[in-house]
Assembly symmetry: C2
Homo-oligomer: 107 residues x 2
DNA sequence: TCCATTGTTAAACAATTATCAAAATGATAT
DNA sequence: ATATCATTTTGATAATTGTTTAACAATGGA
């Protein structure tokens, strides 16, 4: 199970419109990843700003990078995403997990 | 599906150690909720600070409050949590969702 | 080698955030 | 009413954050 501090770091990284958009895109792209420049183009973000956000997401271990020639490919780290989801739903309703999937009074 | 702005707001609310702890506690407690004072006691947070964080979580619609006598009970809003989880995993690997549950090269 | 391309880093600035102490609100019981 | 309990609001302060501009690497082709 992830430690609270790491969860906070990951959530903080995602809690910003541009970074959430970047991450959302990388999740949809899948493990192959996508070059930084293509992300800049798709999301209309300046290279410097994008680089800043990539760094934040990398530092939170939400994404990973790999160099290929002149390009740097970024990809989502699905393990960490699953860890966050687990953390958020942990001990849901004191263990009665299904109850939490229903909006209201089932617990 | 939740709008990005609401997701950002919710993630920002959770991206703070004290608030994540509060939320984590409320999720475990379930829909009945728990009085503010008990949260303060369990998490050792001053009333003023706790109130500030409750407000942030409420504003993000992650939690809800209900008054009962002198006490105010807070409870997690599970619908919104499920919305966040959905958003984060949306279009995972271009729709090949199961692949994302495995850490690496399955997409 | 020289150059264009791709991406990162540094410095500066405005804006937002978390915490505390103190005062204020709201609800109940006596 | 008045006292007490539970919680919120206010005001102040220190710390963090996102963006821009400009300058800086690193890669690969002519």
């Amino acid at each position: 199970m992830m430690k609270p501090a790491q969860v906070v770091k990951a959530l903080a990284a995602l809690a910003q419109p541009t970074r959430l958009a970047i991450y959302h895109l990388l999740v949809a792209i899948g493990p192959e990843g996508i070059a930084a420049g293509q992300v800049a183009e798709k999301l209309k973000v300046s290279p410097a700003t994008l680089s800043f956000h990539f760094k934040t997401l990398c530092h939170a271990e939400l994404i990973e990078s790999r160099q290929d020639g002149r390009f740097i490919y970024y990809a989502a780290n699905f393990e960490v995403m699953n860890g966050i989801v687990e953390y958020l739903t942990e001990n849901c309703c004191g263990g009665n997990a299904e109850a939490c999937k229903v909006p209201s009074k089932k617990c």
